[in-house]
């Protein structure tokens, strides 16, 4: 049984009005425990609506989301329990900070779960460690922190609920390149050490390709592709056609391929590229010698 099973999921805005719009159209897929999934698509491709259906913030107009085999809307009164298991970090999460201290803010989720005081303290501390927030910051007001620290504190607020599935919507938006790299590697190490499922929504193929096991590509509300990272990039040209960026190195490889070099089409990291190019070069050199 898959951790998350999504069957024919659709959502239509403003049914029956002039503004009727199908935001998500008939998406079906399965996500296993411990996977790292990247979700990519344009603004308006339906990815935000899609992820909000996974934790019951939006009720699908059609289809269902099965968490451990049970429909999350089977008992609408228990939807909060689903939200504790499927944690969601929204875009610019620092704007949701409200408590007097960072510690209390991170504790908001665990408190709503009804955990004991000791348990909450433990959760807060380990969540802060995951996002690398120094202990002395915990006693400060969240509004005194720097932008990057605020962002990490807000993410810790969701991690503290210890969700089975962690969904992050553009967590690196608005951060400087260094902050982006640091945050991404923290998310990757959280994924490794907790072995929880992580869904990461991003605009940047470069970011996603580095850490995701599988990638879901959304286009105009439809599931364009859902496959292993490697296989996704072997369809690089198709993906460019729907207007998404592919990693620069993949572009170079495709162009070299067109020039007649025999290169595999599923390369998305510089290391792989170097390896493949060196292989060709060496064979040419040895041919000349021979």
């Amino acid at each position: 049984m898959s951790l998350l099973e999504i069957n024919n999921l659709s959502f239509t805005y403003g049914t029956g009005t002039a503004f009727e719009k199908k935001a998500v159209n008939d998406v079906s897929l399965k996500i296993e425990q411990g996977e790292f999934i990247g979700i990519i698509g344009h603004t308006g491709s339906g990815k935000s609506t899609f992820i909000q259906m996974l934790n019951g913030l939006i009720k699908p107009t059609q289809g269902q989301v099965l968490l451990d085999g049970t429909d999350i809307w089977a008992n609408p009164k228990q939807i909060r329990k689903v939200r504790f298991r499927v944690g969601m970090v929204f875009q610019y999460p620092e704007y949701q900070l409200f408590e007097e201290t960072v510690e209390k803010d991170i504790a908001f989720g665990p408190q709503n779960m009804g955990l004991s005081k000791d348990k909450i303290k433990e959760r807060v501390e380990s969540a802060a460690r995951f996002v690398d927030l120094k202990p002395e910051l915990l006693k400060k007001s969240p509004f005194e922190l720097s932008g990057g620290e605020k962002r990490r504190a807000a993410i810790a607020g969701v991690i503290a609920m210890n969700p089975d599935v962690l969904i992050l919507d553009e967590p690196t938006a608005g951060l400087d390149p260094r902050g982006r790299d640091v945050l991404l590697s923290q998310i990757a190490s959280y994924h490794k050490s907790s072995n929880n499922t992580v869904l990461l929504v991003s605009h940047s193929m470069e970011d996603i390709s580095r850490i995701a096991d599988r990638i879901l590509v959304m286009n105009k509300g439809n599931m364009f592709a859902f496959d292993e990272t490697k296989k996704i990039f072997s369809r690089g040209e198709e993906i460019e056609k729907i207007g998404l960026q592919i990693p620069q190195i993949t572009k170079i490889m495709i162009k070299l391929g067109k020039k007649g070099y025999k290169l595999p089409s599923d390369i998305y990291s510089v290391d792989q590229a170097v390896y493949e190019i060196m292989k060709i070069r060496n064979s040419q050199v040895s041919k000349k010698k021979g």
């Binding site: 939200r83 949701q96 908001f108 709503n112 509004f143």
Partner: protein
């Protein structure tokens, strides 16, 4: 869900009323309201309510929207009419213990209902056919004479424009914050009164913080474009009366004069003072 709230919403269009000058619309609306309450007999009441319907038709805004705005106040209409129904004087037509219905009571009830509904409809026409910026522009121009009394008309109008501009933005923001807190298990729907109030703190604090942030950003943006208040400021779009305004003025003057004549020469249905 918060997006569905309509607050004096504007519906773009190209109707006669859309083309009118906001100043003329505001002036005529004021007269409309006065004359709706000046009607003393059924003839003048019919003249006014038929002309209101005419204006609604001219606005080319979907009747559904007008219906919605009336639906919002229907309880007030029923309540006040019912109250007036039993407060008439004269021969009772029907009596049960202390409750009695008289002819004057029936008349007052009908007048009150028609007046309130007309009032709401005609006011909705203004907000439906005038964009918020036009509306505040019009108010600013009309209130300009007040600057003689050192009232800062331009500043007031600018505040109104900004407030109107930010209503949808803040609603959207509220929606986002609510979702984010719900995702952390916040519960807005259950619990007693005190718990529900407490549950609002996680929404209100971030909302205030973001409202202030937006205010600072906006002030900075305005200053960097050299905004310094109303003095010596010229407009890109200068308000001008056109033929539409003169036609509307002429037609409504005829209607208003008609109402006055009816009031003077026909017997009054309502007691004086109502």
């Amino acid at each position: 869900m918060l997006k569905e709230i309509t607050l004096g919403q504007y519906f773009p269009g190209k109707s006669f009323l859309h083309k009118m000058d906001p100043r003329m619309k505001i002036i005529l609306l004021t007269f409309y309201i006065v004359f709706i309450f000046l009607t003393k007999n059924y003839v003048s009441l019919v003249i006014m309510s038929v002309s209101v319907l005419g204006v609604l038709f001219l606005s080319k805004v979907s009747p559904r929207l007008y219906f919605k705005s009336v639906k919002a106040i229907i309880f007030i209409v029923i309540f006040t009419s019912a109250l007036n129904l039993f407060y008439g004087t004269g021969e009772p037509l029907w009596q049960w213990k202390f409750l009695k219905i008289t002819e004057s009571g029936i008349n007052t009830a009908i007048f009150i209902a028609v007046r309130i509904i007309s009032l709401v409809l005609i006011s909705s026409v203004l907000t439906y056919t005038t964009s918020p910026t036009d509306l505040t522009d019009g108010i600013e121009r009309l209130l300009k004479p007040l600057s003689v009394f050192h009232i800062q008309v331009h500043e007031i109008a600018m505040m109104m424009t900004i407030a109107l501009r930010f209503i949808p933005t803040l609603l959207e923001e509220t929606d986002k914050i609510m979702n984010a807190q719900k995702a952390r298990g916040a519960d807005f729907e259950s619990g007693n009164f005190m718990n529900r109030i407490k549950a609002l703190i996680p929404i209100l604090v971030p909302l205030f913080v973001s409202a202030f942030r937006r205010a600072f950003d906006l002030a900075m943006a305005m200053e960097s474009r050299c905004y310094h208040g109303g003095e010596g400021r010229t407009r890109m779009k200068v308000l001008k009366y056109t033929k539409y305004d003169y036609i509307a003025l002429a037609v409504l003057t005829v209607i208003f004069v008609g109402v006055i004549i009816c009031n003077l020469y026909l017997p009054a249905t309502l007691r004086s003072g109502m």
